[in-house]
């Protein structure tokens, strides 16, 4: 089978499997978040934590819970990381430095999983399992809870409440992420991913002994992909043979990355009682994703770079086990969601390919986006699109029966402002410092891309690294951590306030004068708004990095 045929078959198979999971998984999740029954284990959790599961929360209360939960998570995780020497199974490793642990704690709590350290040489098993893996579950569950709260904002009329954060969090973890992770971990294990607590010492060909670090990799790998976390057990992430040994596990990991964000659009449609709306949202994501995949694959496979043309293929930085097709697919999946796992070095992608995955993140993590974050991200963009479109049909804009007036636009405007401001101000400040040039792995436009990529990845909570840039300076540790923290919590609070303001409204009935938001026309309009807004925001920065390089 040629590479092209193999690549196309892989993509086709991926789409078939995602389509198969779409309805059952999406509807199952809708039932999880609308059911009035509590499982026995959940009641136990509520009793232990003193939560009244039947008490509803308003927007402010919900937001306070989320922010409080996240901050407590950061402090707790920092304690584990700094004090890991005192923990069992520490593999004799010392505690993490303060700023690195702050950066790492923020990173995992915000679902970013930006790693300024190498996993195998920095962290013991307890810190990995009780610290990072726990946050892998919880941060993904938080994302789902926010999405569900926003959907409730659209569904409810004249209501002061959005549900109960603790219940949504618990259910997302126990009923969705945990069971799916167990299944995924077993499949990965069967595919050859390691799961042990022992290191293996082997004799190399040269006759020297080499210690191969083992660990509870399969269990962590499952939630790393499923929860769109992306933090690797090993520094090489999914390019490491213990995390991702075969083409089959590679395929499975791409599927796991995409399955929840895709199925959540079905959850959206089902909870709204308007399935075609969910399909339309998926349509927008699919169009953007397909274009992104096509461009990246074209760039990588066609070797559209000087080095690539010389070698006949752009294989630098790619795993020979997977090749360009699978690397391009993985890169698009991981940057379009907020995963950030990598099976190839993005620094080594061709300028056009690297630029495209960068743009994927700049779109705001909505193709198809992080677990939950993709849904609320695209709904906010839909409000923006419907505002302009609604004016153009001569009515006060409305989305799904809710009027979009000054209050809603304030939240939406601040939301769309937050991430670009963090990315641009972060990059601008960093590039103005003389020590940044020393931290870069490359000079000129490519070096600039490394910095731009770092802040884009952090502020959008993606977590993938372009590579090349040494990010251990205090300045980068702190500013990237702030980008992650603000890039996560500020949008979440705004989304919840938006949801609250929507829930308070009554529902406007649809008439022939109402702009339908599930039609191809609106899908096209939304795609246009997302592309133009992203393009206008980032074009100057992109021109100085990937575009200048790609056109050279």
């Amino acid at each position: 089978m040629t590479d092209t045929l193999g690549g196309l078959v892989t993509i086709a198979l991926l789409i078939v499997l995602l389509a198969a999971a779409y309805v059952p998984l999406g509807d199952y999740m809708a039932r999880v978040f609308t059911s009035t029954r509590h499982l026995r284990v959940e009641r136990g959790v509520y009793r232990l934590t003193g939560v009244d599961p039947d008490a509803e929360q308003g927007a402010r209360s919900y937001a306070t819970s989320v922010v409080g939960f996240s901050l407590v998570g950061i402090v707790g995780l920092m304690a584990l990381l700094v004090g890991q020497a005192a923990l069992p199974m520490d593999r004799g490793l010392p505690g993490m430095p303060w700023w690195m642990s702050f950066n790492t704690a923020v990173s995992f709590v915000t679902n970013t999983n930006w790693q300024s350290y190498a996993g195998e040489s920095t962290l013991g098993f307890t810190a990995q399992m009780a610290g990072l893996a726990v946050q892998n579950f919880l941060s993904a569950a938080v994302g789902m809870a926010i999405a569900v709260a926003l959907i409730r904002g659209f569904v409810r009329a004249r209501s002061g409440t959005l549900g109960n954060f603790w219940v949504d969090l618990t259910r997302a973890t126990l009923r969705i992420l945990l069971p799916l992770s167990v299944v995924a971990a077993l499949l990965l294990l069967a595919g050859g991913v390691v799961q042990s607590f022992a290191d293996t010492t082997v004799q190399t060909l040269a006759g020297h002994p080499q210690v191969l670090t083992g660990g509870p990799v399969a269990s962590q790998e499952a939630i790393k992909e499923l929860g769109n976390n992306g933090g690797g057990f090993f520094n090489a992430n999914s390019a490491h043979p213990f995390e991702n040994p075969t083409a089959l596990t590679n395929f499975l990991e791409v599927f796991l990355i995409l399955v929840l964000p895709v199925a959540l659009t079905r959850t959206l449609g089902t909870m709204l009682g308007h399935r075609r709306q969910g399909v339309a949202v998926l349509g927008v994501m699919t169009i953007l994703w397909s274009v992104s995949l096509a461009v990246t694959t074209w760039a990588e496979v066609g070797a559209h770079s000087a080095a690539g043309r010389a070698a006949g293929a752009a294989m630098e930085g790619k795993e020979t086990r997977f090749g360009e097709w699978a690397s391009a697919l993985f890169a698009v999946a991981t940057t379009g969601t907020s995963t950030g796992a990598v099976n190839a070095s993005h620094d080594s992608l061709t300028p056009a390919g690297g630029g495209t995955v960068l743009v994927n993140m700049m779109l705001g993590e909505i193709v198809p986006g992080g677990v939950g974050a993709g849904i609320y991200g695209i709904l906010v963009m839909a409000i923006l699109a419907v505002f302009v479109a609604g004016l153009m049909v001569g009515r006060t804009p409305e989305l799904l029966g809710k009027k979009i007036s000054a209050r809603q636009m304030t939240y939406v405007a601040l939301y769309t402002l937050t991430t670009p401001a963090l990315v641009l101000v972060g990059t601008g400040t960093a590039i103005a410092r003389s020590d940044t040039a020393e931290a870069m792995g490359n000079p000129g436009g490519h070096g600039f891309s490394e910095v731009l990529y770092a802040y884009t990845s952090a502020a959008n909570n993606n977590g993938s690294a372009f590579g090349g840039l040494t990010v251990t300076s205090d300045f980068l540790q702190i500013t990237l951590a702030l980008a992650m923290l603000l890039g996560r919590l500020v949008p979440i609070v705004l989304v919840l306030l938006l949801a609250g303001s929507l829930a308070e409204q009554g529902k406007v009935p649809a008439t022939a004068g109402t702009l339908p938001t599930h039609t191809p026309l609106f899908v096209g309009m939304l795609v246009g708004v997302i592309v133009i807004m992203t393009g206008l925001t980032y074009f100057p920065a992109l021109a100085l990095g990937p575009i200048a390089e790609a056109l050279a």
Binding site: A406, M409, L417, G428, G506, T511, A548
Partner: protein, 670 residues
Amino acid sequence: MSTLLTQAAHQLPEAVRKLDPRHLWRSPVMFLVLLGSVATTVAAIGDPSVFTVSIAAWLWLTVLFGNLAEAVAEGRGKAQAASLRAARTDTVARLLGDDGTETEVAATQLEVGDRVVVEAGDVVPGDGDIVDGIASVDESAITGESAPVIREAGGDRSAVTGGTRVLSDRIVVRITAAAGETFLDKMIALVEGTSRRRTPNEIALSILLASLTLVFLAAVATLAPMATYAGAPQDLVVLVALLVCLIPTTIGALLSAIGIAGMDRLVRVNVLAMSGRAVEAAGDVSTLLLDKTGTITYGNRQASRFVAAPGVSDAELRDTARLASLADQTPEGRSVVDLALAQGADDRDLPGDAVFVEFTAQTRMSGVDLADGTQVRKGAGSAIGGWLGHEPQEVRDTVDAIAREGGTPLVIGRKDAGDPGGTGTVLGVIQLKDVVKEGMAERFAELRSMGIRTVMITGDNALTAQAIAAEAGVDDFLAEATPEDKMAYIQKEQEGGRLVAMTGDGTNDAPALAAADVGVAMNSGTAAAKEAGNMVDLDSDPTKLIDIVEIGKQLLITRGALTTFSIANDVAKYFAIIPAMFVAAYPSLDRLNVMGLATPQSAILSAVIFNALVIVALIPLALRGVRFRAASATAVLRRNILVFGLGGLVVPFVGIKLIDLLVSTLPGMN
């Protein structure tokens, strides 16, 4: 167009006056352009070159063009206000004391509750209700309509407006509005735009524009260190030029002009909106409550059919009905004559010696007595039956059937000359019915396609109402409607999330007018109705509600379309400016110069000039409004995306290129 140019030239001083930062502060976008103009001017003085001076000059022009749009929009209202002021001359009022004595006081000293006398030739000194008398009033000062109107005490035609002139008779008016708060004062303030507040939708759009401005500010501010790193540090003038081109100046400059012009369009159709909020709400209305009489049907009923009694020929009934109605000057009577003629009756005059018998409340019949003793009568079935002493069963059935269908049956009876003591003959029945105005069904269908339901309000019984509703094509009707019923209907619709518009003129309409999202009071109506509604129709034409809805929609569409155009424009500006800024550092970026602009300087200057000129080019559209055609939301959106979205993408590529061809011939452009 030429008048617009004249207006623009006329308003130029006003536009310069509006450069005041305290005024521009209201629009963050234009305020930022002002700051940019100042900054580039300072830079140009420090480093004068054709390029820097040109950029600074065009940035000032950008602000000026925005001001000009606003000034022209306001100027139109000011002209109207001046003519209104002329009507508010120093009137002397004749204050009526409790003892019947008159004292002359200045109109400005009148208080609410005062009673004044106004006689033929006097100007009404203030707003009020007539408490005594009847008069014909010339309201042309306010409505522009020269035909006088009748105003009388009691009922729904009792309101008079200060500044109008009494043409005949004498009336006593009780003042209902204090000086300075009269209708005329409000009107002057409205058309001048002094009381203009930003509407909810305008505020929401301003928030979006402000956030876009901040994003672009961040993009341009951070571009400075990025450019320095790239080895291509940028001058302040270039960065400011990029910023001004990116921020949504087109819509920012025209936003307030669009709002003022929208109100102005309403004034031109003789509707006064008390708030811009109401105009916007009109675009959102999904239910229209329309009074049947005068709006959907002509005010009176007309003959539509003759039904002959058994043994009577159609021709005999037709001719007799005509005879009975010849002297009847009521609209109903004339319509009987017209129908008979249309059906072939002879066009003969009434014999000179015939005697007309007028309708009275006692007889409930009218008709004619001929010289030969023949008597013909036309009246309700029971009246004719009583007059003749008998009424055939078939006729009675026809009468009932017509009434059931919503028509009004009139029976024709005759006592012959040769048989004065006889019982006479019942000849048959004339069917009168409401006639639906022409074109109403089409207009309602148009409204339906826009998602607006029309509801007919009538005092008729349900059967009658249903028949007319079906003929007119309204979506629903409210029969035997009391003010309470209207109120309940409005509340029911609003609970379902719909916005309701209605017209009304009577005092008992006031609560419903106040409750409706858009309440249009007829100028001919009572002061209470005018106070309750949020718009007043000076022509008192209830069908105008439909125009109001369209103007409301047009206002929003214009804003949305120009916002889309403004944002879409940025794409081309990037392709002009970014390669110009960085081609020295990264020669590969020259491939982005798809327009093939001559030099970096000419490219940047061309983009700035285009950005300024597009404001001027769009002033007529902002004032006129984007054309609105009734269609479904999807169809309207598709059209506007095509014109303003796609057009906004393409036009600047062409425009900047053309400007560059000229600009590149300037010295100092390389």
